[in-house]
């Protein structure tokens, strides 16, 4: 294993993580909800529509973060390394899997682990291993 020191950003990573943890905590304390983004979106889709107000507001906040971060010099347009077919397949898997597994990186990885949920610990380990395996196959087994 070698560390990619040129791209290593521990301080902004930690600071960003603190903001994410603070937002997730505030969501639990103020709204009484787990800030799992896939779950927030899923609640907007029929037939399980429930409490659209706070969900839409949360999504709007996420969307507004991009231009605001841009003003602060923190964000740039995302650059995707993969082609369209791969992106579409990835999106399908992320949406399908997040719902089937009852959460994503934010719901299980941040909120669930913060709540010391065994379910979320298992889910987080499984999706990390799957993601490590896919990137390994993509970068080191092809060609």
């Amino acid at each position: 294993m070698q560390i990619d020191w040129a791209h290593f950003t521990p301080l902004s990573g930690l600071a960003g993580g603190v903001l994410i943890g603070a937002a997730a905590s505030a969501c639990a304390l103020v709204l009484g909800r787990a800030a799992g983004v896939s779950g927030v979106i899923a609640g907007l889709v029929p037939p399980h529509r429930a409490e659209a107000g706070w969900r839409l507001a949360f999504i709007l906040g996420l969307l507004a973060a991009f231009p605001l971060a841009g003003l602060l010099g923190l964000s740039a347009a995302p650059r995707f390394l993969d082609g369209k077919a791969s992106l579409a397949l990835a999106g399908l898997c992320v949406g399908f899997g997040a719902r089937l597994g009852g959460g994503c990186t934010s719901g299980h990885g941040v909120c669930g682990l913060s709540r010391l949920s065994l379910r979320s610990l298992v889910a987080t380990c499984v999706f990390m291993i799957a993601a490590f395996a896919v990137v390994f196959a993509q970068r080191h087994l092809s060609n």
Binding site: L29, A90, G97, G102, S106, V110
Partner: protein, 151 residues
């Protein structure tokens, strides 16, 4: 009260999104650099997780003891559920998608605001995947006469 709740929700989403931008979770290359442990590994995202969980442990420790939110509404944090095949297969499929594109649902939403074509494509595919899960589970439940459990 509802207006205040929605306003606070907007603010929470904004802070969440700023955290994702600052930590570069919104950059697929950054995420995939973290997932590539066999290559030139960028461990930055471990610091993101660490920072988020360190703060989250404190916040959720308070939240778990409360029956009502700070606004006085009933708490609706999910109950501790079982570890079952559905959880594990869902997490595995999710992980495959996350590894393939380097994007998870939070950053997928934030990136829509960049109006980047790839970001839009991923977001729409993700919504279709979510709807497909619902259809598949409903179809299976219909065949087995079982009721679909909801998280």
């Amino acid at each position: 009260m509802t207006t205040l709740r929605n306003l606070l929700s907007l603010l929470i989403g904004l802070v969440f999104g700023l955290g994702l931008c600052l930590s570069q979770m919104t950059q697929p290359a950054k995420v995939q650099g973290f997932l590539d442990i066999a290559g030139a590994w960028d461990p930055s995202l471990a610091f993101v997780m660490g920072g988020a969980i360190a703060v989250g442990l404190v916040g959720f420790n308070f939240a778990k003891r409360r029956r009502r939110t700070l606004l006085g509404d009933p708490c609706q944090l999910p109950a501790q559920g079982r570890v079952d095949a559905r959880l594990i297969s869902g997490a595995a499929i999710f992980g495959v998608g996350w590894g393939l594109a380097g994007v998870c649902p939070g950053p997928a939403v934030v990136n829509v605001a960049s109006l980047d074509a790839g970001a839009m494509l991923f977001f729409v595919a993700m919504l279709i995947g979510m709807a497909a899960e619902r259809l598949v589970l409903n179809a299976l439940a219909g065949r087995n006469g079982a009721v679909v459990e909801e998280d």
